[in-house]
């Protein structure tokens, strides 16, 4: 069943899909070459010369933010678990409001990285810079590995590469490794040569493609149900085999376990924890923060976040139609047959819609188109992550710590290019090794780390007069360590067993069990802990506070004096 299904998913569409993939690679590489010719100096490399307009940067922000996990993943979760997938969508959108409130302040006070903002509050900035660089690189690399492992499996799936089958003369396993390597090589290429300009344009192209594809599919789905949302939901509930429970919360998150009241409570707390991390993490994600600096002033930054809110909101509203449409039109069984995680729900829906409009060829073309949108999504997001961590390594660690704040511009940009190459290569190697592991939890962990480590430092630096270096460092390391330790001893790493199949759902195989923290997502505990560490560090730290610097930062964050 699975094999036959896979063959039909690829089918004739494979040639078209592959052709579109190649076209996409050519276009993005052309952008990179253009960007390389127009990149000269640090402002260009780190911040795209700050020439992007608000709407352009808004598109790029949306392109940077909406990963394959949110496009294919959320459509898949909705198609399999119903309403609970939509809860994810809401979290991803609501997260932009805290970002909107700090974006202008950040844009006005920083130049290239988050650490620029933090470092202005302290007299000796090297420890703060190091802490910020450590946290930036950790968050980015974890997110990156999750994306690349996902990319390998996903692209193999979209191209119809299956165990036992061969692709261009390679076995399925080799093909998957090759996919990871090719994606990694492309992302290194974009960042090393194109810098922020190249990366931003790749993200703009991706966001435009994604919005176009999603809108087209939504209109087609709703058209099939006479533009009656209630009819669509009814059909989805009917096809799901779960009836009206499918349209209500509780199938995936916060599941009720009869007879185990504590287990039920933990499930629910786990869901609350996830929601918190999603909402508070976005404003601290390094690849989102570095994007704030690509526009000319705070007003443009505000406009760009407003655009991002509009685009992200519209997209996640459309996931309702995509997810429920996939259940109603494709059916749960077929989705499960292709991928138990549901990642192929959107491509399958595209094929079904295309087939309905223009027969077999229409189906193949739509499938190929949506597959290449997913491919573009993956490329844009990984490039953004590498860009953010390379910037932080070069600007914060090399420029401000090793070179004591006075490197030559050329030198620092060269280091940034090299750092991009280094981080990209490390990520490729780690992703190839982690290929068979269940690493989906790394995305949630990255959000939790961003919320627990970066957010306290940013918020206190901007709004708390007494905050100091010790508080910054304590907050960052405390939040980071709490998230990692809690996840290491949580069910996602060891001890979670599928009650039906008896297989391990954790990172470690069945039988290894050292978990004591009951929740999958550490946010509920680690975010308050991060804030607490920052407060404690501030009061215990020996370096006095510097109210003058706070006043200065306040004026600057409001007016942008010195940042333009």
């Amino acid at each position: 069943m699975t094999l036959a299904g896979a063959a039909s998913l690829a089918g004739n569409g494979r040639t078209i899909t592959f052709g579109l993939f190649l076209a996409l690679v050519c276009v993005t590489l052309a952008i990179t070459v253009w960007a390389r010719m127009h990149t000269d100096g640090a402002d260009d490399f780190y911040a795209g010369g700050r020439v992007f307009s608000g709407p352009q940067n808004g598109l790029a922000l949306a392109g940077d933010y909406m990963s394959a996990a949110s496009f294919l993943g959320i459509a898949g979760i909705i198609s399999l678990s119903g309403y609970d997938g939509f809860l994810y969508s809401i979290g991803f959108l609501v997260a932009w409001l805290p970002a909107l409130l700090i974006v202008e302040l950040m844009r006005n006070t920083g130049r290239f990285t988050m650490a620029d903002v933090l470092a202005q509050r302290v007299r000796r900035q090297s420890s703060v810079r190091i802490a910020a660089a450590v946290s930036t690189v950790t968050v980015s690399v974890f997110y990156l590995i999750a994306q690349m492992v996902g990319a390998g499996a996903l692209i193999a799936l979209l191209l119809g590469v299956r165990p036992g089958a061969t692709f261009l003369g390679m076995s399925a396993n080799t093909a998957e490794v090759m996919t990871i390597v090719v994606v990694g090589a492309l992302m290194i290429c974009y960042v090393t040569f194109g810098g922020m300009k190249g990366t931003t344009w790749v993200q703009i192209v991706k966001a435009a493609l994604l919005m176009f594809g999603a809108t087209l599919m939504t209109v087609l789905v709703l058209g099939r149900f006479g533009f009656d949302l209630s009819r669509l939901l009814g059909a989805a509930a009917g096809a799901s085999g779960k009836g009206h429970a499918f349209l209500e919360p509780g199938l995936k998150y916060g599941r009720e376990v009869t007879g185990h009241s504590s287990r039920t409570l933990f499930n629910k707390l786990d869901f609350v924890s996830l929601a918190l991390a999603l909402v508070l993490g976005t404003a601290g994600l390094p690849h989102v923060v570095t994007r704030f600096y690509t526009v000319k002033d705070a007003r443009a930054a505000r406009t760009s976040v407003n655009w991002a809110i509009g685009l992200v909101g519209a997209f996640y509203l459309m996931t309702i139609a995509l997810g429920f449409g996939a259940t109603a039109l494709v059916g749960r069984r077929e989705i499960l047959a292709h991928d138990p995680a549901g990642n192929t729900a959107a491509p399958l829906l595209a094929r079904e819609l295309g087939r309905h409009v223009a027969g077999r060829i229409g189906g193949d073309v739509m499938l190929a188109f949506v597959a290449s949108v997913a491919f573009a999504t993956i490329l844009a997001v990984v490039a953004g992550l590498v860009m953010a961590s390379a910037t932080s390594l070069a600007h914060d660690y090399f420029g401000n710590v090793l070179m004591l704040g006075r490197p030559r511009e050329r030198q620092e940009v060269a280091v940034a290019r090299f750092a991009a190459f280094l981080i990209g290569s490390v990520a490729i190697v780690l992703a190839v090794f982690a290929k068979h592991l269940n690493v989906a939890f790394l995305v949630a962990l990255a959000f939790a780390m961003a919320a627990s480590a970066n957010l306290p430092a940013i918020v206190f630096a901007l709004f708390w007069r007494r905050f100091n270096a010790a508080g910054t460092v304590a907050g960052i390391y405390g939040g980071l360590a709490a998230s990692i330790v809690l996840v290491a001893f949580s069910p996602v790493v060891s001890g979670k067993v599928d009650p039906v199949t008896g297989q391990s759902l954790s990172l470690f195989p069945r039988g290894v069990d050292f978990h004591w923290f009951p929740l999958d997502n550490p946010g509920l505990v680690s975010i308050p802990f991060g804030f607490l560490c920052a407060v404690a560090g501030t009061f215990l730290g020996r370096d006095g506070t510097d109210p003058e610097r706070y006043t200065e930062l306040s004026v600057r964050s409001l007016t942008g004096a010195g940042a333009r």
Partner: protein
């Protein structure tokens, strides 16, 4: 306002976790409270973004502009007072007499001129032009591109 909104989001999350019966109540057709509440989150987010933008345009931007203008005026005035009436107000003189206006950068990295022997001491290190062309007098102040606590760009 943000707190109200985050509270509303938290209420929604808690309701999704603990008030399943309410969320499952069907309003009309197959549309239930959960779906309406979810879509309302989107609406609330859009409204808040719009309200904030309006507030920022009406209140924050003029305030920022005023503070900046005040600061420049005060600096100009101080300059004039310090040098007596010899120096005309900024903009009418021959050169830019204004000192560095930004705050002192951290770590005492005041400027490149202090950090590196560029600028005044070694004006031009390149090869002598063949035709005896006069050397450029002063390459000007070094770029402040790197100063984290920004220069006046």
């Amino acid at each position: 306002m943000l707190l109200t909104f985050l509270g509303w989001y938290l209420l929604y999350v808690l309701a999704a976790a603990f008030a399943r019966d309410v969320m499952a109540y069907r309003l009309f057709g197959n549309i239930n409270v959960a779906l309406v509440a979810g879509v309302l989150q989107f609406v609330a987010a859009f409204v808040l973004a719009w309200r904030y933008t309006r507030y920022a345009r009406a209140a924050l931007d003029p305030l920022a502009a005023q503070i900046l203008a005040d600061a420049e005026e005060r600096v100009d005035e101080a300059l004039r007072r310090a040098a007596g009436s010899a120096i005309p107000p900024y903009g009418t003189g021959s050169g830019d007499e204004r000192p560095y206006l930004g705050p002192t950068p951290p770590d005492g990295t005041v400027s490149y001129a202090a950090a590196e022997p560029r600028g005044g001491t070694t004006p031009y290190l390149g090869p002598t032009p063949p035709d005896g062309m006069p050397l450029p007098a002063d390459p000007g102040p070094p770029p402040s591109w790197h100063r984290s606590a920004g220069g006046t760009r």
